[in-house]
Amino acid sequence: MRPFDYVRATAPDDAALVSGQIIAGGTNLLDLMKIQVMAPETLVDITRIDGLSDITTEGDGLRIGALVTNTALAQDARVRAGWPLLSRAILAGASAQIRNKATTGGNLLQRTRCPYFYDTSQPCNKRRPGDGCAAKGGEGRMLALFGTSEHCLAAHPSDMAVALTALRAEVEIRTPHGDLRRIPVQQLYHAPSDRPDRDTVLEAGDLITAVILPAPLVGSRQGYRKVRDRASYAFALVSVAGSIQMEGDMISRAHLAYGSVAPHPWTDGAVAKMLEGQKASDALFARVADALVPDRAPHPDTEYKRRLLRRTFIATLRQLTGLADTSGTDIARTQS
């Protein structure tokens, strides 16, 4: 690690937040600092700021403080009952040790797992814009299918962010002037364009203070299906998060999001339109999958993700609509 000054912020308006790099759980940032992919001069520890570690009810939803750990969020009794998709997605990620430290804010802001981003001997526009992209013509199994630019093909690795997107959650951001604003989780992320180093819309000094979870779809079935190289402790190759409301055998609402296929949790409004108001059937799901999956992958190594996304999408919808048996692992029904 490069030398840095360590300061402890004591309040959300601490001046140090503007000039330093925030550290929360540290599980992503320290990893990157050890290999000098990130080398902040000042590290601002926010873990002692009061009031960011609680989950409280807000209307029919929840307000999740930015410092709530992934473990605490996944095991919260209200989340397990009303938003089981969120519990499942968090528990599908990392290990118990990491989830005990990882925070809600840090999880959203974790950086890509493109191997060249980690390898400082290779050019990477996300590390230094203008240097080039070693993934082009290199290894690309983990790269994205959607939303890439010619400058960066990387995917966002968070499982939790995919669930939050399907659940229509918002991120609360505090600016250095003390203003609070809320944006949908998906809008936290930038399209890579020619500045893939800027993952998010956050400006210097912006602090994520909370994630706001609205009431779940009444009576919805929710599921998170994650496909990976080994059964546990691996990043997703493709994941599908869904919350589906049915009236009889007709789909009335379909809230879906797709993980590890884009620089941010991916959604496709046309898919929901094609599903809503229709009777659940294999023919319908095959047709919608055709519309969802792109004709070409941006990298030859991610061609396989086209078929994988298609199959994972269909399998998840079959379970969420009752066409297929549900394993407890993937699908849960919310109460009332």
Partner: protein, 167 residues
Amino acid sequence: MKTTLTVNGTQHEVGHDPRRTLLDTLRDDLGLTGTKKGCDHGQCGACTVLLNGERVNSCLCLTAMHDGDEITTIEGIGAPERLSALQRAFVERDGFQCGYCTPGQIMSATAMLKEIAEGSPSYVSDDLDAPKLSDGEMAERMSGNLCRCSAYPLIREAIAMAAEVKE
């Protein structure tokens, strides 16, 4: 800078560079070499300790961030003359080959049995509200601890044995 830690019940004040990880503090400053460094990147679990009772990877903790915290290492779990139930079970069931991952496995399993007892769910729990100890649950919950010698089946047998002793 200076940080005060309570390690295995004893309070220590350590002087250190801000870059120091908890893992290096434990091993190099406090001489507690039971905690191992495998990957130094959160990928193997060899460095697992309990931080205020919860398992974490000490290689991904900055010592500076843990002023006033309580840490338990393998040395605090038991000693040769008074082994914990898990330590005894690992010996009895041969839950290791080279032994390098073993302190991390035992620290992790110590926390894992407590988590199940408290009703904390895992990704493979059929019912998020009522997880039960099973071989599949153990495999999932211990997936943050790699064993290069692949002693996994015997590690799980040892944990199951210790869990029975406790019940």
